[in-house]
C-alpha cells in the first residue's frame, strides 16, 4: 500500500524504549508503551519509535509510538515544541536503544 520506507533502526529489530507516565496524564500508550506498574523499559512492536513528551524538563509520557507513520529519522531524542504556541510541551521521536530517556537540551527526569 506504499508506506514510505522508515528508518532502518525502527524496523530491523524491536526497539526498547524508556516507559513512564506522569500521574497527571490521562490514558496511556497502551500495552506497547505502558509497561507494567513500575516498569522502566518496554519492548516495542515492529515499526515503532520511542516517544518522549516533556513539560519543560519534567517527563509526562515515555514509551513506544507506532501511530501516524511520521517515522523517526533520528537515533537520538531531539525534542521540539508541540501543542499550542506559548505552551511548554516538547516531543521527540527517535529510534535508538532507550533513546527517549534523555533529551538533548533539557534535563529529563524520566521517573520520580
Amino acid at each position: 500500500m506504499g508506506l514510505p520506507p522508515g528508518p532502518p533502526g525502527a524496523r530491523s529489530r524491536n526497539l526498547s524504549c524508556v516507559s513512564y507516565k506522569h500521574p497527571s496524564v490521562r490514558g496511556s500508550l497502551g500495552g506497547a508503551g505502558g509497561g507494567g506498574p513500575g516498569a522502566r523499559h518496554v519492548r516495542c512492536p515492529p515499526r515503532h519509535c520511542c516517544i518522549g513528551i516533556w513539560n519543560q524538563s519534567h517527563a509526562l509520557v515515555q514509551g513506544c509510538w507506532g501511530g501516524g507513520g511520521a517515522g523517526c529519522p533520528s537515533p537520538a531524542c531531539a525534542p521540539s515544541p508541540a501543542g499550542a504556541p506559548g505552551g511548554a510541551v516538547l516531543v521527540c521521536l527517535c529510534h535508538g536503544h532507550l533513546c527517549n530517556g534523555n533529551a538533548s537540551g533539557l534535563v529529563a527526569r524520566p521517573a520520580p
Partner: protein, 109 residues
C-alpha cells in the same frame, strides 16, 4: 507516491495523509495516515479483490446488462485500525485511542 500511480485498474488502498500541525491541541501525531480506498469497481471481482460480496456482484451484473442503478458499487474501506491521539488541554495531557481512524483494507460494496 506520484499522482499517476493512483489511477490504478481497480479498487485498492492508497496512502492518504492529513497534516495535523495546525491542530494545536493535538500533540501527536503531527501527520495522520488515514489512507483511502480508490479505484473503480468492475467485474470480475473474484480476480481483483480478496473478499467480495454477492450483493456487489449482483449490482455490477445489473449494470453490465444495462439496468441503471441509483448507486453503483463503490470502493470503500472494509477494515479499519485505531489511532492513538495525544492531546493537550487546560486539564493536561491525554492519550486516547480512537477506533476506525485508519483504512486498512478496501472492497467494493
Amino acid at each position: 507516491q506520484n499522482r499517476s500511480a493512483r489511477h490504478q485498474a481497480h479498487c485498492r488502498l492508497q496512502e492518504l495523509t492529513i497534516d495535523l500541525h495546525d491542530r494545536k491541541f493535538i500533540v501527536m501525531p503531527t501527520v495522520y495516515v488515514a489512507n483511502n480506498c480508490e479505484g473503480p469497481c468492475k467485474l470480475p471481482l473474484s480476480t481483483r479483490v480478496p473478499s467480495y460480496y454477492s450483493h456487489t456482484v449482483l449490482l455490477l451484473g445489473m449494470q453490465e446488462r444495462g439496468s441503471p442503478l441509483q448507486r453503483a458499487p463503490c470502493c470503500v474501506p472494509v477494515r479499519y485500525s485505531d489511532q492513538l491521539i495525544i492531546s493537550i488541554s487546560t486539564e493536561g495531557l491525554e492519550v486516547r485511542k480512537f477506533p476506525n481512524m485508519v483504512a486498512e483494507e478496501c472492497g467494493c460494496r
